[in-house]
């Protein structure tokens, strides 16, 4: 069952009013423009034991992704393709409001939005991940781990996922006998085959105003928000409207246009980081 969420942590009413009134004058409480992301910091491969990993900070929101590859069985309706599994854990370390336990609806939604945004434009070349067609394929686990929650979890998680997938190197296959595949986790060879990159842009609505990359304080005053997934070809590859209010058609059009613009910036950032990983990667965890 999905329940109306209780607003926690409680942001004082006065602060909320200030956030809203600032937005109405085109300003934000942390000094940003309405269409501006917070500073983005990136660390590549913080986890050597993962086949690929990345940590991303957008402002104080910190998300990690570890990619693991294992040999498994394909879905029966896709016998010749690898399997992508996206999971997200919002561990209680990340926020005073998170509880230990299995993923709640927000963590599940985050994982599923990112899963679809990767799957639909075929960001990963799953068709190249069959080992024994129909029997054994690579399972790609994309595990999202949220370490600090300061708003806009999805965009940080998507960026970390895309970066981790880009730096993933596949374990070597040592031998295949019958349907037994032996791999060597400790020696990694080829890069994970990708077709293209995807980013998400999340835009919040306050009254008639729209803000990019809402922080946690700002999320508490949002009427609703939309996450738009955009691939490196400029196509819309995912959409998720969230929150307890609606959008007019014109508002949706505006949001999409703004998202396409911001997505370009994020794609540039991605490319820059991946071109010069040593330079661009900072120590986060």
């Amino acid at each position: 069952m999905s329940l109306t969420p209780v607003q926690t942590p409680i942001i004082p009413r006065l602060k909320k009013e200030k956030i809203v009134s600032l937005i109405k004058t085109g300003k934000r409480i942390d000094g940003r423009r309405l269409d501006e992301y917070r500073p983005i910091t990136i660390q590549l491969n913080p986890i050597q034991k993962a086949e690929g990993s990345a940590a991303v900070k957008i402002g104080d929101t910190m998300a990690m992704v570890g990619v693991k590859l294992e040999v498994g069985i394909p879905y029966s309706d896709r016998p010749n393709e690898g399997v992508l599994q996206v999971h997200a854990e919002f561990v209680p370390l990340a926020s005073p409001t998170f509880e230990p336990g299995p993923p709640d609806e927000n963590a599940i939604e985050t994982a599923r939005v990112i899963d679809r945004s990767l799957r639909e434009p075929r960001a990963i070349r799953l068709e190249d991940l069959a080992i024994i067609p129909g029997q054994k394929v690579w399972i790609v686990f994309n595990d999202i781990y949220l370490l600090d929650h300061d708003g806009n979890i999805i965009d940080a998680s998507m960026l970390a996922s895309m970066l981790a997938l880009n730096v993933t190197k596949m374990p070597k296959i040592v031998s295949i006998e019958g349907d037994k595949v032996v791999i060597d986790k400790d020696s990694r060879g080829q890069k994970l085959p990708l077709n293209l990159n995807v980013v998400t842009v999340t835009i919040g609505k306050v009254d008639k105003y729209f803000i990019v990359d809402p922080s946690l304080e700002e999320e508490s005053v949002l009427d609703a928000k939309i996450t738009v997934a955009v691939d490196s070809l400029g196509r819309i590859v995912g959409l998720q409207k969230m929150g307890m209010e609606g959008f007019t058609e014109d508002e949706v059009d505006y949001v999409i246009e703004l998202a396409l613009k911001k997505a370009k910036e994020l794609h540039s950032l991605l490319e820059k980081v991946l071109k010069n990983p040593e330079e661009a990667s900072k120590s986060i965890v």
Binding site: M1, S2, L3, T4, V6, D77, R78, P79, N80, E105, N106, I108, E109, A111, R112, R116, E120, P121, A224, I226, D231, G234, R235, I236, V237, G238, L239, Q240, K241, M242, G243, M244, E245, G246, F247, T248, E249, V252, D253, I256, E257, L260
Partner: protein, 241 residues
Amino acid sequence: MIEKPVLIKEDGTRHDGRKSEELRPIRMEVGVLKNADGSALVEFGRTKVIAAVYGPREIHPKHMTLPDRALIRCRYHMAPFSTSERKSPAPSRREVELSKVIREALEATVFTDLYPRTTIDVFIEVLQADGGTRTTGLTAASLALADAGIPMRDLVAAVAVGKVNGVLVLDIDELEDEYGEADMPVAMMPSLGKIVLLQLNGVLTPEEFKKALELAKKGINEIYRLQKEALTKKYLSYPEE
């Protein structure tokens, strides 16, 4: 692996004979259950969904009470026999997500501040799944809310638009969803012109997206008309029976 079926025939019609902008046959019945405070059965083609509303009623446990409004609790659930492969009764991640987006769509329309400290429970059971279950369920849920006499800003009407062989089509069914390129469920409060559910599972260019949204709106207006008819039939025609 089964071969991809012909989804758009040479004459432009779809695998089931519909035109691209045509809805499936729709059936709506309001007040189909005795126990529920409100209920509705809605079919879009072979997709069959029943929704029930209980409330406003007391909340247990008490600590979940909201002081200034009604809590909305919503569950989208599929019967084990509703799908081709039997569905395990345990709630899947998909059902958890859909319960959330459906609840959020309904939050936009219910005057929850009229019933502080209560809960309004919405239960959606998919009896047969043939594409568009979330939109059919949302359409049924808003009828059930109306049947329960819960004040709303507007009904919610919903439909999924798809892209199939490059063609945008209205109200996709399961086959079109499985082999098509995009599935975009949309729900609106039609009189207020507000989009309360919007998801995209697939790839669209910005231009295609605009057209798809227009097409959804067209379908939603027709569904809205049928919803009002179904309510009228139950509530206004009553003395004639």
